[in-house]
Amino acid sequence: MELLGLKTIWQSITANTIEKDIVEERFVSKTIHSKSNAEVSKIKRVMLFKLVFGSLAGIMTILFAILSITNPAKVTFFNSIFSPSEYTIFFGSMALSISVMVILNYRAFRVITKFQTSSTNLKDSLARVIKVMENAMKLNIYSDALMTPIIVTWMTYAKVFSERELTLKLGVIVLVVVPLLTFSFSYFFQSYSQKLKFGNFVSRLKSYLKSLEREKNS
C-alpha cells in the first residue's frame, strides 16, 4: 500500500522537479566530449601514463643494453661507477623488468578500455568493474614492487662498490637482502596506498554485488 502511494507521489513530484533540470541539445553535445571522473577512468589515466612512460623507458633501456654490447665506448655516463659488463647487466635487467611491467599494464589497459564501452546489466557490470579495479590495483602494486628493488639495488651497488671490490659477504647483502627488503617495503607501501585510494570503492561495490547474489540463501 505504501509503495503504491509512493508511486503516485513520485510521478507527481518528478514531473514538477525534473522539468527544471532539462538541458538543451547543445549542452549534451558539449558534455559528451568532456573528461570522465569515474574511478575506472581515473585508474585508466594512471595506467595510460605508465604505459607511455614505461614504453619509452623500455625502448631506451633496450637500446642502451644493445649499445653496451655492440659499442661499449659510446655508453659512458656512469663510467666512474660501472664497468662495460655491468652496464649490460644494469640495462638488461632494467629492460626486462620494464618490459614485463609494460606488457602487464597493456593487458590490464585493454580490459579496462573494453569495460568502459560496454553496457551490461547492473550485476554483471559490478562484477566486471570489481575485477578490472582489482587487476589494476594488483598491477600498480607489483609493477612498483618490482621496479623499486631493482633501482634501489643498483643505486646501493653503485654507492658501495664504486671504490671497493665485490666480496661474498657484501655481495650477499647487496644482491639478496637489499632487493628483498625493498621489495617487501615497496609491496606493503603500494598495497596500503592502493587500498587507501581505491579500497573503499571496491569494498562498497563488492557489498552491492553480494546483495545481488544472495538469491539462493533468501
Partner: protein, 166 residues
C-alpha cells in the same frame, strides 16, 4: 554510418529521453554540485556505450541500465551523507505549494526512508516507481524476477520499519 551522424542521432535521442538521467541523479545525489557531476558522467558514459547499443532492448531500458551502472559505481567521498531528492529545495518548494498530499507526515518519512536505502535498493525502487515490470527490472539489474520480488519485499519492510520508527 559516420561518427558525426551517429552523434547527431545520439544527442537527439538522449535529449528527448533525458528525464531518465535526471531522475536517476535526483535519487542518488546529495547536493546540486554532485547531481550536475553525475549528469555529466552519465552523458559521457552513454556516449561511450552508444556504439554497443544494437536496439535489442528499448532505448529507455538501455539508458536506465547505463545511468544506473554509473550512479551505483559513482564514488564520492562526503563528510556526511545527507538525505536527498525529497529534501532538496525544489521539494521543499513543492511542499509549500498547494498540493496537500505532500503535507502528509507519513509520506515525508517514507521519502526519508528511500534516501536511506543502499544504492542497489535505490535502483530497484526507482525502477518500480517508474512503473517498470518485474521482468524489466530483472533485466536491467541482472537478477531473476523471483529475486526482484524478494528484494521488493525487503525494501517494503525497510520502508515500513522506517515509517513506524519515525
Amino acid at each position: 554510418m559516420e561518427k558525426k551522424d551517429l552523434e547527431k542521432i545520439f544527442i537527439k535521442k538522449v535529449t528527448e529521453s533525458q528525464g531518465i538521467i535526471h531522475k536517476v541523479c535526483r535519487i542518488y545525489c546529495d547536493d546540486d554540485e554532485h547531481r550536475k557531476d553525475l549528469v555529466q558522467e552519465i552523458l559521457i558514459q552513454l556516449w561511450k556505450s552508444y556504439p554497443s547499443f544494437r536496439g535489442e532492448s528499448k532505448f529507455s531500458s538501455w539508458m536506465y541500465r547505463v545511468a544506473l551502472n554509473v550512479a551505483v559505481q559513482d564514488f564520492r567521498k562526503v563528510k556526511k551523507q545527507k538525505l536527498i531528492f525529497f529534501q532538496t529545495n525544489e521539494f521543499k518548494e513543492n511542499l509549500e505549494q498547494n498540493d496537500t498530499s505532500f503535507e502528509d507526515e507519513k509520506l515525508k518519512q517514507m521519502h526519508d526512508a528511500i534516501a536511506n536505502l543502499d544504492k542497489v535498493e535505490k535502483a530497484i525502487i526507482m525502477l518500480f516507481l517508474e512503473s517498470k515490470s518485474n521482468q524489466e527490472i530483472a533485466e536491467i539489474v541482472g537478477i531473476t524476477q523471483n529475486h526482484v520480488r524478494v528484494k521488493m519485499n525487503r525494501i517494503k519492510i525497510k520502508l515500513a520499519k522506517k515509517v513506524n520508527n519515525s
